[in-house]
Subunit: 239 residues, 2 copies
């Protein structure tokens, strides 16, 4: 057994702490992903129990955010991280904010689903387009978390690009709902509920995109927010 | 002239750096407030030049976010802040994210105003309710920044409570638009544009509330996100 010096020992502990925080973020991400999945499932199937569960479980997402945030502050105060370690912690602090807000959107979807099934069963539209756009947004979220876990810039870039697809799907749903409402004004109220659900899903796509941008910042040490995608790609290829 | 010891000197420099960051946040806040004001003004008056200006100026908000974020990372790496100083920096990092996203909402309002004036001048509704809810949201933003500048928990609590008012105004606008659309389905498209503008304003209220929560966290060292307002008030009064 080789003797480990104090500084090496401390360093290993620090590494373990960082790793623990990363694991917590992935756990939180898994929970949020499941919340969104279940909210959409409940909407499509009309499963009221599931709607209630999603609403009830939101506090678990919130608790994780507060706990991880606290851990990040403690690690900064005790370990005085710099360079990539500090960037990792700052990326975590931002990522969990976007995760928490994605969780809020899931809760909103579940609440709106309850409203839809309570008030109007006559003009219930099909939810195939909602499910489709939700699948894209959930896929983005999962890949953003994957990119974070593996510090994978290529995957992160892919997520950033796919946000435009969610926006396009949202506009398609909007056009469809307008037609629906014009043809039968009695469907206006329910159509607006569905519009808000589509908007919530679009927001989840935005949050996934933000998270992907933090991964690029984390790995490259360069802030890519507010920079055109082409520019980032050019830089990525040149390095 | 008394000689200043290194540590005291360093401490004073640190203080000055923190103060400089706070000033930058307030500057950014002022710019975002002006962006929202101008976007709503442009919408109400139909001033297209102003709409263009708001869209063009969004990059200034983004640039400030990136610069302040960078300063925060540098100060953490160089100064190794703890306790209230660290909480201040973490609050700044979060605050500028909400400010930047409020700026995005202002840009969206300006873009939607352009769309409204380009496509439909026949069914133009009055914008008095939009202006009213925007005034409340802008007031919340201003007071959240004030609370941050003066580390004033009471003002922050007031902002947090006022968010419910914005949500209520939003629902009133929604009900009004539904009536409008039912009476004349030709107004559906423009009504939805206005609905999205109202939604953008509601979001600005949410961001102001988030910022106010960071102020309470900063001063009290206690995370008040996800805690009922009554609970915070009870704690605040007991201390």
């Amino acid at each position: 057994m080789t003797k480990i010096g104090t500084s090496e020992h401390t360093y290993k502990q620090f590494d373990a702490e960082l790793e623990a925080i990363r694991t917590q973020v992935l756990q939180m991400g898994g929970l949020v992903e499941s919340q969104i999945q279940r909210a959409v499932e409940a909407l499509v199937t009309g499963n009221k129990e599931l709607m209630e569960q999603v609403v009830a479980d939101d506090h678990r997402v919130n608790a994780l955010e507060v706990a991880i945030d606290e851990d990040c502050s403690q690690i900064i105060a005790r370990r005085q991280p710099a360079a990539i370690d500090l960037r990792m912690i700052m990326a975590v602090v931002k990522t969990i904010t976007d995760l928490e807000r994605s969780g809020d959107e899931a809760e909103k979807i579940a609440r709106m689903a309850k409203l839809i099934y309570e008030t109007d069963r006559l003009h219930m539209p099909r939810f195939s387009e909602i499910r489709h756009v939700a699948d894209i947004a959930i896929g983005m979220l999962r890949e953003a978390l994957d990119a974070f876990a593996r510090l994978d810039v290529a995957t992160a870039m892919d997520v950033i690009k796919r946000d435009a697809q969610v926006d396009e799907e949202f506009r398609a749903i909007l056009r469809q709902l307008i037609t629906f409402m014009m043809e039968d004004p009695r469907t206006i109220s329910i159509s607006l509920e569905i519009l808000f659900i589509a908007k919530a899903i679009e927001r989840i796509g935005d949050h996934a995109k933000n998270m992907a941008e933090y991964v690029v910042y984390l790995v490259k040490g360069k802030d890519v927010r507010h920079v055109a995608i082409e520019e980032i790609e050019r830089e990525t290829m040149n390095q």
